[in-house]
């Protein structure tokens, strides 16, 4: 199924929730809406589902205008962060309910329920009622019910947000596989950049009611069109700083500068903003990059990685490096900036050069 939003605007209560948006989603694919809470992800999904009408613009399924068609008449499955189950039905019947509505044969129902229950680790609980399950198990039951039917459009609004870390890790791997051999178009909203990357497929970055970019997620991540997109798609947050280009020199501060390379040289002289992700800022080993001496603010070790927050001329920057590097708060330490990985943005926020 192809889903397209054409010049869609959504206003409610005197506020614009979605500014004019046009997007054609990858059909039969996994599409991620990535953005912070209140960015507009849920409103976009409600528009796609037909739960709320656009104030102007058009929504098309397979080229058909469905703008006025209510949610019941669109073949849509939805899972929202707050799950709902039928309290008086067993877990099995909860999952089977959309298939019963579709009047499928018992054998087909049994097979489909068994498969999805296994995937979501619900097999031991099929005979129980929702109230006898833990919160996580209840959420997985609701997720199973949405996934068990073959909907044209599957909308998943932060469906893993309340689940345990390890369970999320497993489901994040399994979900795209589950849809790989189906014709459903999936839209998945998350606040987490790492989740967007690992789910594969395409990502639309959403910020303050606008989709800032849409494309294959590796492309959006590595080649953001503007600073906002880069910020939305970075965890830990991307480091930023104002720089001045003059001739072949990019200058961040009196003591920190480097030589412009490649297509950067063609940029007009002037002020720019750079973005450099924390894993491109490492404790200095002398291997290369621009060396900076800074005061350590906070040092965290996660076991496999070290995170150091430091003061770079009044800015708080973050370094993320593999392995264990111990630093004392307040000490001066040397870091190296992999400036070849810097993203450059113009005064309007749009990315310039490579």
């Amino acid at each position: 199924m192809t889903l397209a939003l054409k010049n869609v605007v959504r206003r409610a209560g005197g506020q614009t929730h979605i500014h004019e948006t046009s997007i054609a989603l990858e059909s039969r694919g996994f599409n991620v809406l990535l953005g912070t809470t209140l960015a507009g992800k849920t409103t976009l999904m409600q528009l796609m589902a037909g739960l709320v009408p656009p104030s102007s613009g058009e929504i098309g399924f397979d080229g058909r205008n469905v703008t006025g068609v209510p949610v019941q008449k669109r073949n849509v499955a939805m899972v929202f962060q707050q799950f709902i189950n039928y309290p008086n039905l067993s877990v099995y019947e909860n999952i089977a309910s959309p298939l019963r509505v579709a009047r499928l044969r018992d054998a087909t129902v049994a097979e489909r329920v068994a498969r999805i229950a296994e995937l979501l680790q619900l097999t031991p609980f099929l005979e129980r009622r929702p109230a006898e399950l833990s919160g996580g198990q209840q959420q997985r039951t609701a997720l199973a019910r949405a996934l068990v039917k073959d909907a044209d459009l599957v909308l998943l609004d932060e469906p893993l947000a309340n689940l345990d870390y390890k369970l999320r890790e497993g489901l994040r791997e399994e979900l795209p596989r589950l849809f790989a051999d189906r014709s459903s178009t999936v839209v998945y909203a998350t606040t987490e950049p790492a989740e967007a990357l690992l789910l594969g497929g395409h990502t639309a970055t959403v910020h303050e009611g606008r989709i800032t970019q849409y494309g294959p997620n590796g492309t959006v991540y590595r080649h953001p069109v503007d600073l906002t997109t880069a910020q939305v798609f970075s965890d830990p947050p991307i480091n930023t700083a104002e720089v001045v280009k003059r001739g072949d020199t990019i200058r961040l501060s009196e003591r920190v500068s480097w030589t412009a390379a490649g297509s950067l040289r063609a940029l007009p002289d002037g002020a720019y903003t750079i973005g450099l992700r924390p894993h491109h800022v490492l404790p200095a080993t002398g291997r290369g990059g621009v060396q900076v001496d800074c005061t350590v603010l906070i040092a965290e070790i996660s076991g496999s990685e070290s995170v150091v927050h430091f003061d770079l001329g009044g800015l708080t920057w973050v370094s993320l490096s593999p392995g264990v590097h111990t630093f004392k708060v307040g000490e001066t330490a040397r870091f190296e900036l992999d400036v070849a990985s810097c993203l450059y943005f113009g005064p309007d926020g749009a990315r310039v050069a490579a």
Binding site: T36, T37, Y165, A194, E300, I301, S302, G303, P322
Partner: protein, 355 residues
């Protein structure tokens, strides 16, 4: 302030526990030093919240004792334990200003206003709430309210311990980084014992000096983040900590040498005696696996882009072996070999680190 000691603690929600499975906490012995930063980490149902509720006095344990310093507090109600708690969802008085919310725990204890004011301003400054002090709490966003909750937990300087129950679950990732580092900074500044309950390994590992890993009602390992990462005592710890978790490969022992797929795998530890029928496994984290010209033959099954690195899933038969590559590295297209860094390759017998 006090050292906290937990002795032979057992708890069951069943009136007459008979089977092992009836115990939510099977046998817990722990000691928390005064002023330390600790995390209780485990999946839901592991017993971490039960343990937290017993320490705070909301639950009376079925067996065992708890000491704050030398005082046995097992039977003391929460009010007498002098504890501050921060919960998953914000606990804030909407009709009060941010200032009054922060001052509440102090005023409630009869602290004179002359001492309330500087403390409220100090905590507000640390949490970047200073500019909002005169505002009503009602108008704030969810994470603004959670910051007030944190502030209310931190404002009293006379508590024995501050306990956090999944305090950042509802917070957006961008802000999570900030708040986590704030908490760490606050801990370094105020030096009160903090216990942080979470299922999120990143939160536990970055916050705590010592992490208590729980699984099915028992403590499987207490250690620094580095110890848990480099030397998991149990395959559960190896799996639960790290993303992706540790690779666990079934192996056979021949003359004390582990073999997998007919290949001898040198390990950092060894065992002399293995009970008959024991399950023997090799544990090695994806960080310590690399492609090599010789070793275990594998095929590349999947590659995921995790941004700063690629997660490569390889398979030998049914056994999955994952490894990490730099984002710029080339992944072999089909068949390849993998080898392990011996210093971080360990032998496990029945799930536990051998030797």
């Amino acid at each position: 302030m006090a050292r906290i000691r937990i002795e032979h603690l057992r708890h069951s929600y069943v009136p007459r526990p008979a089977r092992e499975a009836d115990w939510a906490l099977k046998e817990v012995d722990l000691e928390w030093a005064d002023g330390g930063a600790y995390a209780l980490l485990g999946p839901s149902g592991c017993g971490k919240t039960t343990l937290l509720n017993i320490v705070s006095g909301l639950l009376r344990p079925t067996a065992g004792r708890i000491f704050f310093g030398d005082a046995d507090v097992t039977a003391s109600p929460p009010g007498e334990r002098n504890i501050a708690q921060v919960f998953q969802f914000p606990v804030v008085y909407d009709t009060m200003t941010v200032y009054d919310n922060l001052a509440f725990p102090l005023r409630n204890r009869g602290v004179p206003e002359a001492r309330v004011d500087p403390r409220v301003r100090e905590i507000a400054a640390l949490l970047d709430l200073a500019a909002m002090l005169p505002q009503r709490a009602a108008g704030l966003t969810a994470d603004g309210k959670q910051k007030i909750s944190l502030g209310r937990g931190l404002v009293r300087s006379d508590v024995n311990v501050i306990m956090f129950d999944e305090p950042l679950t509802v917070i957006d990732p961008h802000l999570k980084w900030r708040l986590r580092s704030k908490l760490k900074e606050l801990h370094q500044r105020i030096g009160i014992t903090m216990i942080y309950v979470t299922h999120d390994q990143t939160e536990a590992m970055t916050f705590a000096d010592q992490v208590v890993v729980m699984h099915e009602g028992t403590v499987v390992q207490v250690g620094t983040p580095v110890e848990l990462f480099e030397r998991p005592r149990h395959t559960f710890v190896g799996h639960f900590i790290g993303s992706p978790g540790m690779n666990i490969l079934p192996c056979r022992l021949e003359n004390g040498v582990a073999r997998f797929a007919g290949v001898a795998i040198p390990t950092a530890n060894a065992t002399t005696k293995t009970p008959n029928g024991a399950r023997t496994e090799i544990g090695v984290r994806p960080e310590f696996v690399r492609f090599a010209s010789a070793g275990i033959p594998v095929r590349v099954a999947a590659v995921s882009d995790a941004g700063r690195h690629q997660i490569v899933e390889t398979r030998h038969g049914d056994t999955v072996i994952r490894l990490l590559l730099d984002e710029r590295d080339q992944v072999p297209t089909v068949a390849a070999h993998v080898s392990f860094d011996t210093a971080f390759t360990r032998l496990y017998v029945d799930g536990w680190l051998a030797g």
